[in-house]
Symmetry: C2
Subunit: 276 residues, 2 copies
């Protein structure tokens, strides 16, 4: 019998907590004209790892904040992440019909409602950030999430991704990973830090940690998919570097249990690639 | 020779000012991968009345605030309004090929980029609100814009609009007008008030003013289009009522010149329908 590593137990517990919070905030309404909320709930409450939400809450606790202070921001980042999946899956984009074992939003609800459900999730993400208790922290979160999700972050990454021809170098791929995944992981770590009252130097370290981890995470995903085997050796080496750098940036944070969880999350990402 | 009414002169001057601000904040970048910023600029900087932006700045001045304090929020509301147009025009929605005498975004840039440009405009709208100087006002603006743009406002209105069969009663149409147009006009007036430091009772009056004006504005648009002539007499009467109520809600604001402009804007909306 193999013992379940502590990080897996912690992730499962935190995922359940975040999903409970999402369920509470996006409860099914008594009336649902045009099935809008059903479409929002279908994508938001479907299966997911909630990694970004876990990072928000652990980053908050890592800087001495309370879990409660981070929950609105954790839900916000999950809303924003889900909107990117719903829109990326659209026929005009990646035209994906299945995600996590279920038909995609536009397959179930039609294209118009999938577009609108994505728009709603993006809008609600910012609405949730307005609930962050300290107004200055809330404004910081709005600015950070808009920067990560905007024309220099996730959206630029998706524009580049659509243009990829499948013959790019590892460096080209990494730029897209930085924009699409790194930016949002970085925002997750920053948002958590801000909700916990972190100072500028700590927020900057959290940003780096998240960015490096996000890029590493996407390299690991590519290695899982195995569709560019000629890049695998370089990608595995690069993944190791990124994870080591991400962990090193946590040294400023002290030794709260949540810091160990952030470090373990990085190690877990590196371990994924060694399993192949 | 007919004298140009003062409200027209004021609108033209304020529109030019807001457009200058938008041009400055969304300048063409040196590099533009995938034409993302070109698509954003095409829709945002194209011809427009900038009514919502004018309302933001006048509401700010009406409560004693400075014009400068309202410009970020005025740009934010124009971004949000533009995103709704870009997404509503998509083939999966209204499938419109022309708007304001120019081909729509998806005709020029393709569907994927039109979706992403809309997403970018929605994201930047909230990023701009993070620039509102006073943090508590900024958070109020984020909450108000998310509420207006979200699943109980603009997006719900669009979902209902897509389902309209062309045989609705005036009351049914008015509900869509309230969600799609009233919510955003109300947010414009509230945002301006918040940027100018208005108290709760004043913000509530500004909300009502904007909401009533937005519904009236949409009735006037319908009368222009003349596609439901059987509703025209009732719509014209209702428009007059709405404009009178909107103006009445301004009485709390005192007699700053900007208050007169908000009142004149309401009168102008009523006058449009009498011209038919």
């Amino acid at each position: 019998m193999t013992a379940v590593p502590a990080i897996e137990t912690a992730l499962a517990a935190r995922r359940a907590l975040i999903e409970g919070e999402l369920e509470r905030r996006f409860a099914a309404p008594a009336e649902d004209p045009g099935r809008l909320m059903e479409a929002v709930r279908y994508s938001l409450l479907g299966p997911g790892k909630r990694l970004r939400g876990c990072i928000v809450t652990w980053a908050c606790e890592a800087v001495g904040g309370a879990l409660d202070d981070a929950l609105a921001a954790a839900c916000a980042i999950e809303c924003l992440h889900t909107y990117t999946l719903v829109h990326d899956d659209l026929p005009a984009m990646d035209d994906d019909h299945e995600r996590r074992g279920r038909p995609t939003s536009h397959v179930v609800f039609g294209e118009a409602l999938a577009i609108l459900a994505g728009d709603a999730l993006l809008t609600e993400a910012f609405g949730l950030l307005a609930e962050v208790r300290d107004p200055e922290a809330a404004v910081f979160c709005v600015r950070a999430l808009a920067a990560a999700g905007g024309v220099r972050g996730v959206i630029l990454g998706q524009v580049r991704d659509l243009a990829l021809a499948g013959t790019e170098s590892l460096a080209d791929l990494e730029r897209v990973h930085a924009e699409k995944t790194g930016a949002l992981f970085a925002a997750a770590a920053q948002l958590g830090g801000a909700c916990g009252g972190a100072d500028g130097a700590t927020l900057s370290a959290l940003y780096d940690y998240g960015r490096l981890l996000g890029i590493a995470f996407q390299h690991a995903d590519d290695l899982d998919d195995d569709d560019r085997p000629e890049l695998a050796a370089d990608a595995r080496r690069r993944l190791g570097e990124l994870v080591a750098k991400a962990k090193a940036r946590l040294s400023i944070l002290g030794d709260a249990p949540a810091v160990s969880l952030l470090a373990a999350l990085a190690e877990r990402t590196a371990a994924r690639s060694r399993a192949h």
